[in-house]
């Protein structure tokens, strides 16, 4: 009886772990509003490592993107400190990579500050980008 309960609890525990493992990545998906704004080009990747608006967004989108930028900044600050770099250096490096990872049709900021639509080729990036 005891062994049976133990077995059941072990099963339940492993089930919970599995559920958490499955829920983890699902929870870490992009906000649907953010995803749509990226795809439509309302939001783009800036050279400094943050998201920017290519036009004037509505209040809802502005809040979503501002929240993401605040989270990015906090993450950059933490990672920069660990890597013994400045926040700006880390953020700029992440910006280089985030621009490189944009999908065709998404927008990104060129080194001159202009908004560009990502084509099928390489994006126009700062010459210092890796």
């Amino acid at each position: 009886m005891i062994t049976r309960t133990l077995r059941l609890s072990v099963l339940a525990a492993s089930g919970a772990v599995l559920a958490l493992a499955l829920a983890g990545p699902a929870q870490a998906q992009r906000d649907p509003g953010y995803e749509a704004a990226r795809a439509s080009g309302q939001v783009g990747e800036r050279t400094d490592g943050y998201l920017g608006f290519t036009g004037s967004p509505d209040a809802g989108l502005r809040k979503v993107v501002d929240d993401i930028n605040i989270k990015r900044r906090a993450l950059y600050a933490q990672k920069a400190q660990a890597a013994r770099a400045t926040l700006e250096e880390y953020a700029f490096t992440a910006g280089c990579l985030a621009i490189a990872r944009t999908a065709p049709g998404e927008r990104y900021q060129a080194p001159d500050g202009s908004w560009q639509v990502r084509g099928s080729g390489l994006p126009v990036r700062d010459p210092r980008c890796p």
């Binding site: 870490a28 993450l75 950059y76 250096e89 700029f92 990872r101 500050g113 890796p130």
Partner: protein, 78 residues
Amino acid sequence: MSIAKSTGPRPNAHKPSMRKRATWLMVLSAGGALGGCITVNAPEEPIVIELNINIKQEVIYRLAADAGNTIEENPDIF
């Protein structure tokens, strides 16, 4: 005598030329101040101050792998 005569007026002749020169300079500078105004027009496009100019490429290369991992580990905000 003739030498003394010829050397005599020299200092006197020198003084007026200095004064003349000074007068000319004043006139020229006054004219310059009046007529030579430089007009500076504001540029049409906004002035962008590049704050990232001091970031060195070697630092970016050092951070690249770390930043790449950060992006992959946080797909909700990238």
